[in-house]
Symmetry: C2
Subunit: 480 residues, 2 copies
């Protein structure tokens, strides 16, 4: 494989350049003509489809159904919840004309849909019978990015889902917030093999308009934190301006209690960073567009026929097991070129089969994540491949979890904090809860409170910044 086709830098030497090359050369995505926007190629979109169907299945069990909202929101509607509007206004795209006609009330491209959804909900909800109402929307959000953009991590338009639920009691709404966070954690850990820490955001970092925000955070190999998804308790903050009311069993009218939550294609970015290596992408089997690639190896016409026949047989066995399999039948390309090509694309399992293998009634199995090769008897393929794929999935998760644990540590001294921060990773540190300390730390070090974990590690210590009594352990890190 020529240098131009493969990845030309190592993950350690130039992480940022490595990332971009993997995205482009593994053909997941490409830059669109407008700065900050990307296009997803079929392999990239297929991963998103896998995430979508894993979430849809869990949403359905939770009684959540899908709907559709248009992308255009009138400025007047967006402005109804003041703090929320102030938060999104600077990054909104504005439609001012249709054809040659100027539009009176400018239209924002949806930065998020709380305002639009709740203006509808207020029409649909009459009584307690209509609740809970739980609708999810698979769409895109648009937020003009002026900072450096990066495929999947920072784009002016991104694929995501946004869920919006309405409840009769705050208790039920808060339980929903946690159920969703749990669905997110399970999906990310089980499908993408990325461990996450769940907890709350600080007041400063919460979603604009929420009572509080719960979050799941993960750690990238460059030592920076990445927010992987958030689930917000909105209280009645939107119900009041948007008039989301219901009459209860006694016919008394009440404002409803709401939640909203979302994950985006940023999850794909995390997956690339956490699992990729110097050869390119490494895909967890559960979301890989192709799980097993079969490369027939032959150097004569006579061998070709025999080998391809056997490859076709194996393909059939795997298709019957619902495994996503592909036989690389391209002629005029060497097996070596094909190996590198599929390694670059991160296909978890490769089966190599040549005349000598057939003679011995076996194939060679190459696993992408650990770059190991072993023999497997052909009659074991039927029973073993699914087991191997599951093993790969688990080993990828375990490796990521080990990395997260190794790079997480507690510090309670500010000098030590600053020193450790330079090494990257998660710093568990006591914090008094004062926003002033949080801001000072950010100013002086660039570290933010990423998450206040639900499981606190220590209590009744002193704030790492001001020394006042603290019962809040927070995870600090520099982030994306």
């Amino acid at each position: 494989m020529s240098k131009e086709i493969g990845i030309t830098v190592t993950k350690n030497d130039d992480f940022s350049e490595w990332y971009t090359q993997v995205v482009l050369k593994a053909e997941l995505a490409d830059y669109a003509p407008v700065k900050g926007l990307i296009v997803l190629r079929p392999d990239g979109y297929s991963i998103w489809e896998s995430i979508r169907s894993a979430l849809d299945e869990k949403f359905r069990k939770e009684g959540i159904r899908n709907g559709f909202l248009p992308v255009l929101i009138p400025e007047s509607l967006l402005g109804k919840e003041k703090k929320h509007f102030a938060g999104f206004n600077p990054e909104a795209f504005w439609v001012t004309h249709s054809g040659n006609n100027e539009i009176g009330d400018r239209l924002a491209l949806r930065p998020t849909s709380e305002t639009l959804a709740y203006s509808m909900y207020s029409k649909w909800i009459k009584s307690w019978r209509d609740l809970p109402l739980k609708i999810n929307f698979w769409n895109t959000a648009l937020r003009a990015e002026i900072k450096a953009t990066k495929p999947f991590l920072r784009n002016s338009e991104f694929l995501w889902q946004e869920g919006h639920t309405v409840h009769t009691t705050p208790k039920e709404a808060e339980e929903e917030v946690m159920k969703i966070l749990d669905i997110y954690k399970k999906t990310v850990e089980e499908e993408l093999a990325i461990p996450v820490i769940t907890g709350k955001k600080s007041e400063k970092e919460k979603f604009v308009g929420a009572v509080y925000t719960t979050t799941m955070e993960s750690l990238m190999p460059d030592g920076k934190a990445l927010q992987m998804g958030t689930s917000h308790f909105l209280g009645q903050n939107f119900a009041k301006p948007f008039d989301v009311k219901f009459s209860d069993k006694d016919n008394v009218e009440n404002y409803a209690w709401q939640t909203s939550w979302g994950v985006s294609w940023r999850l794909i970015g995390a997956m690339i960073m956490v699992h990729g290596d110097n050869k390119g992408l490494v895909l967890p089997p559960k979301v890989s567009p192709i799980q097993v690639v079969i490369v027939p190896i032959y150097y004569s016409e006579a061998d070709a026929k025999k080998v391809i026949e056997k490859a076709n047989e194996i393909e059939k066995i795997l298709l019957d097991k619902k495994i996503r399999v592909h036989v690389d039948r391209r002629s005029e390309l060497t097996p070596g070129f094909k190996f590198h090509d599929w390694e670059l694309k991160g296909i978890p399992l490769r089966i190599e089969i040549g005349p000598k293998d057939i003679a011995k009634q076996k194939v060679v199995i190459a696993t992408r994540h650990n770059q190991e090769k072993t023999d497997l008897a052909i009659d074991k393929i039927d029973g073993e491949i699914n087991v191997i794929l599951e093993k790969i999935q688990n080993e990828m998760f375990d490796a990521a979890k080990k990395m997260l644990q190794e790079r997480s540590r507690s510090v309670d001294d500010y000098e030590k904090f600053k020193e450790e921060l330079e090494k990257g990773g998660f710093l568990y540190a006591p914090w008094c809860g004062d926003e002033n300390c949080e801001e000072k730390i950010k100013e002086e070090t660039g570290a933010e409170i990423r998450v206040i974990p639900f499981e606190e590690k220590n209590q009744n210590t002193k704030c790492v910044y001001c020394g006042k009594s603290s019962s809040i352990t927070s995870i600090f890190a520099r982030g994306y």
Copy 2:
């Protein structure tokens, strides 16, 4: 059921009002705050999801994969193919600002994605090895509608899919155009139970930028035609301005041959119009969010327990058969209210079960499309329900086909043509092929050439307008 909840006009008396009421009261969709835009509620979106998965399965078998394109297209790019741009320019939404910053090259919201997709394709395609390239995009298109808008039929933003393929030869591209049209026809006829006529559009009515457009047209109960989907042969019309080139096996560079094609949620509008009745929506079983609704009937606590238990048993049997079933467990609502509610929502099959039914080991089966009721022995539920659902699907298609045939007829005299046109329906008429005659007919009668059917009915006759020799039979109708 109160008048306010049910449909208050008949389909015959006020078709337009009937349609709108069905859409809103069956809770498929609702008006968004911006004129011309709608929101899909879960039942409406679920029908779209069924259409999507039926098409996705067929696309996959045809080697078509899904991708993602952003919604923003620079004006400079949209303008590269002149005729195409002129066609869409008047109805484009224009983004002029991000936050408070003015954007230099204005951004159009995607009216269709040929220009964006092909600017990407020209980067991705190098040699014949990269072809055919077949990508489909599930997204929305935005076209500012100034005329009267109507849910699913005429909206400024609509859900659709747009496919874009690239080929080495015109023959292969033209075959693809036909394969897609065939997939569309199968999907609409088999899933939505709506018969369509396929053929070509006239030069005047073709897609701006295409060499020719193939179409499928259907007839609505008010006698107007509805375009249900189109598949375009683009020739090299876009390949040249967008530089979509490949080097062939002899290393010679050639412009590629392209197709594009799409169907939209307009299909849902057609389904509502064709099958609905005075009680509301009538859904074909294949796309109905709920296929079978079970209504337990009881008037005492003692009966309630027994009846609900039996309903739960039946639910389990049907779930095991992968039937989408729902038990209406709402208390404090009468069976009569529930019947009307599910009829309004168009659920194809209702199972009624009360204490007397249980005593006789049977249930009552009510089929929505023909409003018939029959008894079914409980031990036959397991084997029969799927058969009944299939029968409903077929009967709905047959009824729609009968309507289409009854309202299609041939005319070759212009006076007769004008007279017949007033009755609505499809008029097969000879046409000389001159755009002037086509335009005159439209001006004088409002009828357009909807489709030039692949199967011509007569030949070597005289043009219905000018009397010149004609070998083209066209279907004329007033349309949506």
